[in-house]
Subunit: 272 residues, 2 copies
Amino acid sequence: MKEIDFIERVLQDAAAFVRREYARRSEVEVSSKADPTDLLTQVDLAVQDMIVNRIADTFPGDIVAAEERGLDRDPEDPACRCWILDPIDGTQNFVRGLFPTFGISLAFAVEGRAVAGGVSLPIATDLFLAERGAGAFRNGERLRVSEVDSLAVARIEVDFASPRERRETLDRAAELICEAGQIRCTSSTVVGMCSVASADMDAFVHVAMEPYDYAASQLIAEEAGGKATRLDGSPLLLFDGKRGAVVSNGLLHDALLAILRRRTETMLPSGI
Amino acid sequence: MKEIDFIERVLQDAAAFVRREYARRSEVEVSSKADPTDLLTQVDLAVQDMIVNRIADTFPGDIVAAEERGLDRDPEDPACRCWILDPIDGTQNFVRGLFPTFGISLAFAVEGRAVAGGVSLPIATDLFLAERGAGAFRNGERLRVSEVDSLAVARIEVDFASPRERRETLDRAAELICEAGQIRCTSSTVVGMCSVASADMDAFVHVAMEPYDYAASQLIAEEAGGKATRLDGSPLLLFDGKRGAVVSNGLLHDALLAILRRRTETMLPSGI
């Protein structure tokens, strides 16, 4: 089976499961991980187990890097066939929120580079798919980034991340926040990056992402004509350590890098 | 007809219209108002006209304050029977966005105080209703704010507002942004305030709101057990000029006022 077809099928099945669980989410067991706002549910684990098992059945020998159960490690051999999975990106929004702004992300990489990827937004029933060199699609419709070329009217998603990265986010992005046309924060990387691909947002900024957050949606954004780099403008690699990124429609990219380079002193009164 | 029953019926009809227009939103004509990011569509105008006409038919002589067509003025007689309408709160999100985070807001006030209010989120098919002293409901189900009492784990919606209020927002909220458990920004006041009422968020902060933004959802949040004040802790009044507000589950309110009182010097490099 082709990897992109596998991604499509497995994301459709996982989305159907997540829709059922979302309908009864008040009963779902929630625990926390690194800090009290870093949530984990039974649904994250069940989705990961289901997809990891399907990969093992269909592509035996392939490596899996995934957010939960200790699989959050880069592969030892960077050239290997590797699957990168985030079972629920935006778990907080799954647990609480008027709008279901979370997604399931699965990418396939060889030689340390994503070549196929998919993101499902289960409740919106949106499925984003991309293959390297073959374009990006939402529910079968070809995607193209926006043509907005001025920061003053641009819709920018700034991910405020976890509390320990909040100060860094403000220092980096305060000037951008003041100058952009609009600021949004759904706090789901896949929602932010797929929004750039679908031209619903013009750019997305995050100071500290993990590979499972962006493996699939970086490919989707790039295949829709967008640009993704580290905050300093250098290439955003897949197994790259936890670091920041700018994803844009391309037209805004240089202006975004320039404004993010000028760090801000945020003089907090209590000296946080 | 009782005012709350009128609100329920007219919001259901308006929501059905907005759902049809949303399905063909790529064809909707968009213009801008005060600044290039302050959008107006045919749909805002059509919804306002429909509701204003229905009020005139059902409650002749009542005053209407509404966002569009020059009706954005406080009534001359503050004691009058008055309807306060925002036909689409979150027009930007109506025009662009992966998730339909916008709403229709209608409140009825006497003696300058909202006594009945409703908010429709048309695509989510959620209808929030509240009468003073009789509780708040979503789709008939009684609402109760959250019980989160620590900022470190609280979900806070910070509305970054229009570009001209962005610096004030950062100066006010930078410390809160650093200390809160999570930060979100949908940039729809009614979504933010109804999220507090439904316990999906723990608080909402905005530095510059108009009465049509909050007339209905303030009542909904308060009737769900929440608290709404100006940023200095004094009562948030209906015809109050454009000013800021904090809406919370009550438990977080004093901590929020204290942290918002400590203004931050955001030292932007270009001296914006």
